[in-house]
C-alpha cells in the first residue's frame, strides 16, 4: 500500500508529518515516491502519478509548481524519512555508539530484504539526471552529509582514532552495498560489508 521504499515500521513516523493522513499532498508524495523509485523519474508521467494518487492534475501543479518541484519534494521527504528510520533503527539496536555502528549493516540488510527495495532514491536520481548539472546532485550531497555526520559523531564517541576516515570508509561500504543489493537483488551485500566494516573498525579502535 505505502508508496515508500522503507521498511514498514518507518511508516507511522512519516504519517505524523502531515496533520491529516490523507490530504492530497501526502497522497501525491506517496504515489510519486513509489513510482519514481520503482520505475525511474523520467519514465513516469504526471498523469500516472495523479491517477495513482487519486487527485486532480491541477492540484499537483498548485502544490508543487512543476514535476521538478514534486521530484524535489519527494527526495526531501524520502530522505528525511529514511534518516529518521535509519538512526532510530541503529539506536534501537544498542545504547552505546560502538554498538550503533555495529548495527549499521544489519540494519541495511533489513532494508535490502524489503519487497520494495529499489536502491537509494538519491543515487538513482543522480544517475538518471544530467551529470553536468548540480540540481539533483546537491540534494543527494545534502542527504549524505547528514547521514555521514551522524556516523562520524558515533565514531568519535566510540573513540575512533580518525572519525573522519572511519566515516568515509563506512560511507563507501554503505553505498557499495546499496548499489550491489539493487543490482543483484541479494541482501548478502550487507553481510560482506559487515565483515569488512568489522576489520576497519578494529583497526580504528584496537588498543
Amino acid at each position: 500500500m505505502a508508496g515508500s521504499c522503507l521498511p514498514p515500521e518507518a511508516m507511522p513516523a512519516r504519517r505524523l508529518k502531515t496533520k491529516a493522513p490523507d490530504n492530497p499532498r501526502a497522497r501525491l508524495l506517496e504515489a510519486a515516491t513509489e513510482l519514481f523509485c520503482r520505475k525511474g523519474i523520467n519514465a513516469i508521467g504526471v498523469d500516472t502519478i495523479v491517477a495513482k494518487a487519486g487527485v486532480a492534475k491541477s492540484t499537483l501543479y498548485k502544490l508543487f509548481g512543476s514535476k521538478e518541484g514534486l521530484v524535489e519534494a519527494v527526495l526531501r521527504a524520502e530522505g528525511e524519512a529514511w534518516r529518521e528510520w535509519f538512526t532510530a533503527a541503529i539506536a534501537r539496536a544498542s545504547p552505546d555508539p560502538r554498538g550503533q555502528l555495529d548495527a549499521i549493516f544489519p540494519v541495511l540488510a533489513q532494508w535490502f530484504r524489503q519487497k520494495r527495495f529499489y536502491g537509494c532514491p538519491f543515487i538513482n536520481a543522480v544517475a538518471e539526471h544530467d551529470k553536468t548539472s548540480d540540481r539533483v546532485r546537491r540534494l543527494a550531497i545534502e542527504h549524505k552529509e547528514q547521514v555521514l555526520a551522524h556516523i562520524r559523531a558515533l565514531g568519535a564517541e566510540a573513540g575512533a582514532r580518525d572519525p573522519d576516515r572511519l566515516m568515509h570508509e563506512i560511507a563507501l561500504l554503505m553505498d557499495g552495498a546499496i548499489v550491489v543489493a539493487m543490482i543483484t537483488r541479494a541482501p548478502t551485500a550487507a553481510e560482506f560489508a559487515k565483515v569488512a566494516y568489522d576489520k576497519l573498525i578494529d583497526a580504528q579502535l584496537a588498543a
Copy 2:
C-alpha cells in the same frame, strides 16, 4: 570528441573493434554512449542521437532494431571497453597479482578525474529502469561478474586466504567509490577506498 566515459588511452583499443573507424554503427555507438551517460537514457531521444552521430534515423533502426536494442549494444560495448581498459591499466602498473590489486583504486582515481566521468553506465542504467524487470539488471550483473572474476583470480594468485570474500569486499569499495565520485564529483573517494582496501588485504595476506 570521443563519446566515451573512459580515459583517452582506452580509445585506440576500442577503435580496433570495427573494421572501419567511422562506419555508421561506430558513430551511433559513440554518440549514444556520450549522450546516455551524460544525460541519462530516458532523457535522450533518438533524434538527438542520430543528429549527433550524423546518420539517418532509418540507419539506427536498421542496425539496432529499436532504441532498446541500441541501449543494449551501448552497454555491451562500453562494458567491454571498460573491462579491457581496466585490466590493462592495472596490469601496466605491476606484473604481479598483488601489485595489480594494489593498483585498482589508483586506476579508478584516474577514471574519476576524467572530465567526462559520469559514473558507471551499468549502475546508472539499472537506476533509471524498472526495478521489477531484469532486462537491464542482467547486463549489469554480467559485466560485474566478469570484472569480479578477474579480481578474484588476482586475489587467489596473490595467495589470499579467502579470495571470494576479498573479491566481494573490493567490489563493495569499488562501487561505493564510483557512486560517491559521481555524486560529489570528488576523486578523493578512490583514496579513501585505497586505504580501506589496504587494511582489508593486509588481513587476507598477513602471515
